[in-house]
């Protein structure tokens, strides 16, 4: 435990020196504020309070931004140490690879939490300041925070797996971008195309919901939109998946971090310093 903490402290300090903490917080804050400003235009007499509306738009932002930030922080974690030549020495210390990985993980997740809380907090403050009813949206906001962290945890761990498999920072960066593109952008497009081609057949009813659940980003979106009163505001794929029970999407986003960490550890164990 103290060794995990030691690794975590060192990693956090490095991220601080490399301005990663500042960059992550600024990025989340900037995007959240832009969203809050865009959402503050009068929306007519929609029933939802302003915070719930903000949370709905933050959800669609988080699906893109949280995995991106997570991958940006983690892709260098192991490949960078291999390249710098710092790995052999630390591996001769009485510390397991799992402990080293968890140390990095807690540091990176902590930085992500800071960025998420600052970003969402700013957007929420803007909503509450302009709408007295916005307090009603607080539970949705809290839910968005912890699910964002689960999503982030998944992609941080996936980033480690990529980092360990690639062995070189350049290759790891390329793989991370590719993975983000496939899992966050192309996956949904592909599913949408398949659903359209299927024309309401057995793929749409039997296979499609499971494929949505299998992708942590989709499960994240499903859970937050299904649980939120502003579901109506969400368009596209989630409408087609309105029948998926919340328990299923919750299970997916809760299990993914562990699966991804397992994958990362297996890949890290294969790295010969």
């Amino acid at each position: 435990m103290s060794r995990i903490l030691a690794a975590s402290t060192a990693e956090f300090r490095i991220a601080l020196r490399n301005r990663w903490v500042t960059i992550a917080v600024l990025m989340m804050a900037l995007f959240s504020l832009v969203l809050a400003a865009a959402g503050s235009a009068p929306t007519g007499d929609v029933g939802a309070d302003r915070l719930s509306v903000t949370v709905a738009s933050l959800t669609s932002l988080a699906v893109y931004l949280v995995p991106l930030l997570a991958l940006l922080m983690s892709f260098d974690a192991i490949a960078g140490e291999v390249e710098r030549g710092t790995l052999p020495l630390v591996l001769t210390y009485p510390v397991s690879r799992a402990e080293l990985l968890l140390g990095k993980f807690t540091a990176h997740l902590g930085i992500l939490a800071l960025a998420v809380i600052v970003g969402y907090g700013l957007a929420a403050a803007a909503a509450i300041a302009t709408d007295a009813r916005a307090i009603a949206g607080i539970p949705a906001l809290v839910r968005l925070v912890w699910t964002s962290l689960l999503l982030g945890a998944t992609f941080i761990a996936i980033g480690y797996a990529i980092s360990a498999l690639a062995r070189r920072p350049g290759a790891a960066a390329g793989l991370a971008v590719l993975l983000w593109l496939v899992m966050i952008v192309l996956y949904d497009l592909g599913l949408l195309a398949a659903v359209v081609a299927d024309g309401g057949g057995s793929f749409t009813t039997d296979v499609f919901p499971w494929l949505l659940l299998a992708n942590p980003a989709d499960a994240f979106r499903l859970f937050n939109l299904a649980a939120s009163e502003a579901t109506a505001a969400a368009a596209g794929i989630s409408g087609a998946a309105g029948t998926i029970p919340t328990a299923h999407s919750l299970t997916s986003i809760a299990l993914w971090p562990f699966a991804a960490l397992g994958l990362a550890l297996a890949a890290f164990r294969k790295v010969t310093p």
């Binding site: 300090r13 710098r84 052999p88 020495l89 210390y93 009485p94």
Partner: protein, 297 residues
């Protein structure tokens, strides 16, 4: 019990046979120098001892445990060749991290840095350190806690002459406390005076494992006698002694250890023609070359 035992260690990287049937031991309190040409397999052998690489064949015991096991890692300290650290951390932060990984109090970091002469630079980032300063950080981390086996890969590379001497003084103290030390080096003269035993690898084969005195005897290299003749008599001296002329006045002779006195007698018999005689025993470089060069075939 031996601190380190290797028996018939074999390791190949594809077609490259890095180590072949290497066996030797290191006892507590013993300083063993591992010598060999570039690519002889020294670093590979050390990585196998530390459990970073797995041998293809053979057995190793490190402090009575399996290499890489928790017991072995707890009692072993390592200094890799070309040691590297994260450039964003300061020397102090880096050592505090290593101390905590070994379960020691981070407060000891500044003492360790002082021991290797880095106290003034402790709060500067390692990225700004010179090569020798980074090497000293590497030495400082190897002194953490109470290791019972030190594995040091070219520990003095990049160190200035004074720091080298200080480094060997530290090693002497550790060895006196019973710490076993295995170090590799290309600086033969320092190894000569500061280690107890020499192991030489050639193309992954162990070709020597003994004290320097014994290696000197085994190599049976000729002793060189340098005879300085009086001006004008060098030719005659060279002819009478059947030696080679080197320059205007010096005549070179080679002789075996057992012939030394007889040859000196011959020289003394020339009396007034001789100005001086130097006896040059085979240098460590000669002995090293004798063992580490491939036999001419």
């Amino acid at each position: 019990m031996q601190s380190l035992t290797l028996s018939t260690i074999t390791k190949a990287f594809g077609a490259v046979r890095a180590l072949t049937d290497v066996s030797f031991t290191v006892a507590p309190g013993e300083r063993v120098a591992l010598l060999g040409h570039n690519g002889a397999g020294k670093s590979t052998l050390m990585k196998i001892v530390l459990g970073l690489l797995r041998a293809d064949r053979g057995q190793i015991t490190v402090l009575g445990a399996v290499p890489g096991s928790n017991a072995a890692r707890t009692g072993t300290a390592y200094l890799p060749e070309n040691v590297a650290f994260h450039p964003s951390l300061t020397g102090l932060e880096q050592l505090r991290y290593y101390l905590r990984l070994r379960g020691e109090t981070p407060a000891k970091a500044i003492d360790l840095l002082e021991r290797v002469g880095l106290k003034d630079a402790a709060r500067r980032r390692i990225g700004t350190y010179s090569k020798g300063m980074r090497q000293r950080v590497g030495l400082a981390q190897a002194l953490i806690g109470t290791p019972r086996l030190l594995v040091l890969d070219e520990p003095t590379s990049g160190l200035d002459p004074v720091s080298r001497r200080e480094f060997y003084t530290i090693l002497e103290g550790l060895a006196a406390d019973g710490v076993a030390i295995l170090l590799s080096s290309h600086a033969l003269t320092e190894v000569e005076a500061k280690t107890d035993r020499i192991v030489i690898l050639r193309d992954g084969l162990l070709v020597a494992d003994d004290t320097l005195a014994n290696l000197r005897r085994k190599a049976a290299l000729p002793i060189r006698l340098q005879v300085a003749a009086r001006p004008g008599s060098a030719d005659e001296v060279a002819k009478k002694l059947a030696g080679g002329r080197r320059n205007g006045v010096v005549v070179d002779l080679l002789c075996q250890h057992d012939d030394k006195l007889a040859r000196l007698g011959d020289i003394a018999a020339l009396g007034a023609m001789i100005e001086d005689v130097e006896i040059l025993p085979p240098s460590l470089e000669d002995i090293y070359s004798h063992f580490s060069q491939r036999p001419a075939s």
